[in-house]
Symmetry: C2
DNA sequence: GATAATTCAATTGTGCGCAATTGGATTTTG
DNA sequence: CAAAATCCAATTGCGCACAATTGAATTATC
């Protein structure tokens, strides 16, 4: 039998760029879990709140574009956040197809309790500032190129 | 009301390192889908096969360590790959707790059909070789630091 | 060598993530 | 303006991903 290590080197796990992306993404989300647990948010719910803390009100479609999520994922997440009282959902008057998502008072309050999360996470990561910036730049370049 | 853009700049989506990681990971997996669909593999199943093409036989635990996956995820994936005839599952004689996963003939055959996948994917990505290498290095450094 | 602690895969339950479809609203076209 | 095409959220179905638990096998401790 041919040496399995060498017949298709491009198929070695260590030669994939996708795998460390996938693994890093999962591991970083795992690190968020304890901090987000205190806020009773999942990671996806946290991403939605990040957008709402910034924009206050926007359509479901815009939210999906910002987060790379489709309605199949967003619809149940938004319903759950509405049940928690963190946002409201209503149809647009201009165009009944559009769902307008707006942050609530309780949602705004939560922002203060979430303010420490990014710093808490940063302390888990052992990249210096230059490397973090370069990683950030390359990830966005990569994302833009896809 | 305070300017929502400025009261907690660390909570801006664009200031998160986690988000482009999460988005890149999902987008790259999306790009794999059509190619893996031809092989009737999901992305997770593909990762398992990458390891088996390299190692031929290893325990479920070792597989989980290589891919950062636990038994709750791996057990059903391995059963499905066994149903497809791509691998076999048996208990270790040494230690009945361990499940030994071994690639089958059909699994080895599939490797030839998968050989073009990495190149097909690379052509979707508009990073030059130096940048891809640097991204790879930073991701593994990041992963190691977590 | 009995018992306690540990190590496994498997199971259960929850929450995405997404392709595909549905059905209502709106826009485009003839 | 009526029919067709498009656009939207919602739904459905499937496959992870993972925390927590279970139960069997093994190892460590007394």
């Amino acid at each position: 039998m041919a040496n399995a290590k060498n017949d298709y080197p491009e198929l070695l796990l260590e030669n994939q760029l996708c795998f460390p992306l996938y693994a890093c993404s999962k591991e970083i989300i795992r690190r968020y879990r304890p901090f987000l647990g205190e806020l009773e948010l999942t990671y996806t719910q946290y991403l939605v709140m990040l957008v709402l803390w910034e924009r206050q009100s926007l359509s479901s479609k815009e939210l999906g574009q910002a987060l790379y999520l489709d309605s199949g994922t967003l619809t149940p997440v938004l319903k759950k956040l509405e049940e928690k009282g963190l946002l409201s959902r209503r149809r647009s008057g201009d165009d009944e197809r559009n769902l307008i998502v707006s942050i609530s008072e309780a949602g705004e309050e939560l922002k203060h309790r979430a303010a420490h999360v990014p710093q808490s996470l940063a302390s888990c990561v052992k990249l210096d500032a230059d490397e973090a910036r370069e990683l950030y730049r390359l990830l966005y370049k990569f994302l833009g190129s896809l």
